[in-house]
């Protein structure tokens, strides 16, 4: 059969066409499936209005009444129509305002951001939108994202904290997190927060009332987690942000050997009565679009509910969960999630069992556990890491990764996979250009061996190209 030329790539010309951005954007978002929310298969007319007074609230450590659905501000929309995470375009502030207004109107009162999100512009955009509402009507959550070694100094870190106050147009922060503990282990924690005196400073800020709740977000193994919880006597953690969803509950190790089951993390926190924030309720969007087996299981029970709604119900199911953070780029995401949380319907034991079975099935697929968090980006050599993984995962889910030449589905699957890869990943940003410099590795909260997985995907691609 003819060898298609798939060395060619995302063409300049599409980019330069003014409409190109829109086209590319639309293609990327549908294609990547990385937007952390439900699929937009809702028709408001058929499903009825979303109630404004049915939001589920939970109580924080100091009596805060926090909406179970928290707004994650790492994926604000851009003027190009894509999420700011995947696009170089500017944030669409008018749309951010509209989303924030709609969320608040329907009872969402927690907004979670970080100095690192949206290439550093999330806090500003969030601050602008929120400052149009009374400060008492919402809670702000942000983080000390001092990942880069040149921000490890006391002054640089404190400056980052003060800039957050400035950008968010506030003089206090409701929930403040040490960002990404567990990544880089104990050493990293000490350098970023302990040895430089930053954590002591934050504790004093809490005493002064400028930080209302102090906690941390966690990605890593249980011994590190145990160690951090052992510091509870000293620091009195007000809350902790963990990765929690129905796959990570029991199968975190299968998805990623260096993550911890959220069942363990949650149980340990509950023992100490520390409220829990949830991140990755959709595992980077992948639980919003499951394979056919899982989808039909879920749709049989609730034909009109999105696949994503199940993951959210699981994430908020435990009473110790204070809020489930979801990065919602589009109004459709927001509305779909509001339907899940207004009112919130806990899962029955039978439904929990079903999700457990789906999780078993999920981990049997060789997916890359990338959540498209983009912490690895930008790759200094230009590789589009999250898009490569998303394209690969999507094709696995669709059964379009077939390597057996004798399989009758081979020809069609091959063509589709190669075209999909070529459409979504620019030629010079494809996996073959990864030089394995390994600079991305320490940044991955999922501890994916990125260069190794890229290499594997490239070998697959080259094999298919050869035919």
């Amino acid at each position: 059969m003819p060898i298609m030329n798939l060395n060619m790539n995302r063409r300049e010309f599409i980019k330069t066409l003014s409409g190109g951005a829109l086209l590319t954007g639309a293609a990327l978002t549908t294609a990547c499936g990385s937007s952390e929310s439900g699929s937009a298969d809702i028709s408001s007319a058929a499903l009825g209005d979303i109630p404004t007074d049915k939001m589920e609230y939970r109580r924080g450590k100091h009596g805060e009444r926090v909406s179970l659905l928290g707004y994650g501000c790492m994926r604000w929309p851009t003027v190009a129509g894509t999420s700011a995470r995947e696009s170089d375009s500017d944030i669409d502030q008018a749309e951010v305002n509209r989303l924030v207004d709609y969320a608040i109107e329907h009872g969402v009162n927690l907004f979670d951001t970080s100095p690192a999100y949206c290439k550093g512009y999330s806090e500003r955009a969030t601050g602008i939108a929120l400052s149009r509402h009374p400060r008492s009507s919402y809670y702000i959550s942000t983080k000390l994202s001092n990942f880069a070694p040149d921000t490890w100094g006391y002054k640089q870190s404190v400056d980052m904290y003060r800039r957050s106050l400035e950008y968010l147009q506030t003089d206090y922060i409701d929930f403040y997190l040490l960002h990404g503990l567990g990544m880089g282990g104990l050493e990293n924690f000490r350098r970023r927060y302990v040895d430089n005196g930053v954590l002591d400073f934050l504790v004093s800020e809490r005493a002064a009332g400028r930080i209302r709740n102090l906690g941390f977000s966690f990605h890593g193994e249980t011994d590190m987690f145990d160690y951090l919880l052992s510091l509870n006597d000293k620091y009195d953690w007000d809350f902790v942000l963990i990765q929690h969803n129905f796959v990570d509950w029991h199968h975190a190790k299968q998805v990623n050997a260096r993550n911890s089951n959220s069942e363990y993390l949650y149980t340990e926190l509950e023992k100490l009565h520390i409220p829990v924030f949830v991140m990755e309720p959709l595992l980077g969007g992948s639980l919003a679009s499951l394979n056919q087996y899982a989808t039909s299981q879920l749709k049989q029970r609730e034909p009109q509910r999105s696949v994503a709604s199940w993951a959210f119900r699981f994430a908020g199911n435990q009473q110790g969960i204070l809020s489930v953070l979801s990065g919602m780029t589009y109004m459709e995401h927001l509305q779909d999630n509001l339907r899940t949380f207004c009112p919130f319907k806990p899962l029955s034991d039978e439904e929990l069992e079903m999700l457990e079975r789906i999780a078993d099935n999920y981990v049997s697929y060789p997916l890359v556990p990338c959540t498209a968090c983009q912490y690895c980006m930008p790759c200094p050599y230009g590789i589009d890491i999250p898009t490569i993984f998303a394209t690969y995962n999507r094709n696995i889910n669709r059964g379009q990764v077939v390597t057996d030449l004798n399989d009758p589905a081979y020809g069609k699957a091959r063509r589709r996979f190669l075209i999909d890869y070529q459409r979504n990943v620019e030629r010079e940003r494809q996996a073959d250009h990864c030089i394995e410099c390994n600079q991305c590795k320490p940044h991955c909260p999922q501890h994916i061996n990125i260069p190794k997985r890229l290499n594997g995907i490239n070998q697959l691609v080259e094999k298919l190209r050869e035919g």
Binding site: P2, I3, M4, N5, L6, N7, M8, N9, R10, R11, E12, F13, I14, L23, A26, A27, M74, A84, R85, E86, D88, P115, A116, Y117, C118, K119, G120, S145, F147, A148, P149, D150, Q374, Y375, M377, P378, C379, P380, Y381, G382, D384, R415, R416, I419, D420, Q422, R423, R427, E428, R429, D432, H433, C434, I435, E436, C437, Q439, H443, N455, E466
Partner: protein, 497 residues
């Protein structure tokens, strides 16, 4: 006006010309590689390529065809001739002025033919090939039409992408050679003007293939013959003759210029001109143009000193998430010897046989081949690796080459041929400039000719020049930009491994 009667021969000529030319053009446009295997013969029956390929069978058949029926070749097989007929057709519809008989510019046309042959023999093909008909057409299509075709395809691909279809996929549109584009534009402009005003004047004055065939068609056994008894001297045939070769007054048709288009037959209302057997003295002129030349290559100094620009996006500390690093475009390195496709035997063999028709350029699935800008090998293809690399089992160019400039190569033989070899440029290597570990060239080398060796500066690539097959994968995948830290230097004579 009386309703025009259609002449069967003319209809036959027009239909076959349109089909032949369209398919040939499509073959140049098709980037998926599907049509080449079915239509490759259309390029191989072109006269000049057949002569250069020493394809005796084709040459003999074409000459016999011409001896028998006149220059049918020029009206049906030659795409450049058909293109001019199309222009003349438009001209005939919109212009009151039609053709007038004129004398043949015999001195000029045979001088040009002689000069053409001499230039080919002494190794100045780059000049001679400017007027070679088939390759001129190839250049026009490849440079001007192919980009439009690709753009339309990409538009369809964008639509297909939006609706989730895999029927179309995008291809890369890029300028392979500005010079070739310019030459194609000038050629097209000149031909359009001449054929609009004077029909086949180019073919009967400048074209070397036309000149060669005229020597045979002069004595063709079939030809349009005027019956002086029936002729009313209305001159309808004269006015319709694109070759301007009908002389009604003397009832003569100059068959050295006639391209047997049959237009005159259709015009004559008195059946005074007929395409029929004509008694002629027979004689065949010799047509050996096997070029044996001395083409001394100019050696370029290859210090590659200009490559010191450290062309790499140096590692940046990340304080925010997301975004894509800027990627500088790769630039073509200066090569002392240009890299010709596997099967080219040697620079000399290649330049002696290639007509620069661009068929291989359009067939190359990896965007590796592009026309040369070098004066001595002008427009003849050479390899470059900014957009892709030469597949170690791909032999598409050798399959399509009509002239034998690229000799047929079997897929399994490709990786036994060394058209050039990789050379490491120390000062560009990211191991030294960025202080990172790399090894992408070694990792991807299909024949394991590159290995990373320990040096005080870190692990750097070393090329085993006896194994390298010059595929350029290392050059393509090297992270150093705009100039790669490893590039392929051509071999004057291709080696076997």
């Amino acid at each position: 006006m009386a309703k025009k009667r259609h002449n069967v021969l003319k209809v036959l000529r027009v239909v076959s010309a349109v089909i032949f030319c369209s398919l040939l053009t499509l073959m140049f446009l098709d980037f998926t590689g599907t049509l080449h295997r079915y239509l490759g013969w259309m390029a191989k029956v072109q006269l000049l390529p057949a002569i250069l390929a020493l394809n005796v069978g084709v040459v003999v058949v074409l000459l016999l065809l011409t001896l028998l029926f006149g220059r049918v070749y020029c009206s049906v097989v030659c795409p450049l001739g058909v293109m001019q007929d199309a222009v003349a057709h438009v001209s005939g519809k919109s212009r009151r002025h039609k053709y007038h008989p004129s004398a043949a510019h015999n001195v000029l046309r045979y001088t040009i033919l002689a000069v053409f042959v001499v230039l080919m023999l002494v190794g100045l093909q780059s000049i001679a090939l400017l007027i070679a008909p088939y390759s001129a057409y190839g250049r026009i299509v490849q440079s001007l039409l192919a980009p439009l075709y690709a753009l339309v395809n990409n538009g369809l691909a964008a639509v297909a992408e939006r609706v989730g279809s895999y029927a179309f996929y995008e291809t890369e549109v890029w300028l392979r050679s500005g010079l070739t584009l310019g030459i194609a534009l000038v050629t097209l402009a000149v031909l359009v003007v001449i054929s609009y005003r004077r029909g086949r004047l180019w073919c009967n004055t400048v074209c070397p293939v036309g000149g060669l065939l005229s020597l045979v068609s002069r004595f063709s056994l079939f030809a349009p013959v005027i019956d002086a008894d029936k002729c009313t001297h209305c001159r309808a045939c004269e006015r319709s003759c694109k070759a301007e070769c009908i002389d009604v007054d003397n009832a003569k048709v100059d068959t050295s210029r006639c391209v047997t288009c049959m237009n005159c037959l259709e015009q004559c209302r008195f059946s005074a001109i007929k395409y029929q057997w004509r008694y002629a003295k027979s004689s065949v002129s010799s047509t050996s143009a096997d070029a044996q030349t001395d083409t001394s290559r100019r050696k370029f100094v290859t210090t590659a000193a200009a490559l010191t620009l450290a062309g790499v996006a140096s590692a940046q500390h990340k304080s925010t998430d997301g975004g894509l690093a800027y990627i500088e475009k790769k630039r073509v390195p200066r090569r002392a010897v240009s890299v010709k496709p596997a099967g080219s035997v040697s620079l000399r063999h290649f330049s002696d046989h290639c007509t620069a028709c661009q068929l291989c350029v359009s067939a190359c699935p990896s965007q590796v081949l592009r026309p040369s800008g070098n004066v001595l090998t002008l427009m003849q293809p050479e390899m470059g690796f900014e957009h892709g690399y030469c597949g170690e089992h791909c032999t598409r160019c050798s399959e399509v080459c009509p002239t034998g400039a690229i000799q047929p190569v079997k897929a399994e033989e490709r990786e036994l041929i060394q058209p050039g070899k990789a050379v490491w440029i120390r000062q560009n290597c990211v191991v030294l400039t960025d202080h990172v570990s790399c090894g992408n060239c070694a990792k991807h080398c299909p024949v394991h000719a590159i290995q990373m060796v320990d040096t005080p500066d870190g692990q750097v690539p070393a090329v085993d020049e006896t194994r390298c097959i010059g595929c350029g994968k290392c050059e393509y995948l090297c992270p150093a930009r705009p100039f790669s830290a490893i590039y392929v230097e051509g071999n004057e004579t291709h080696q076997n491994i």
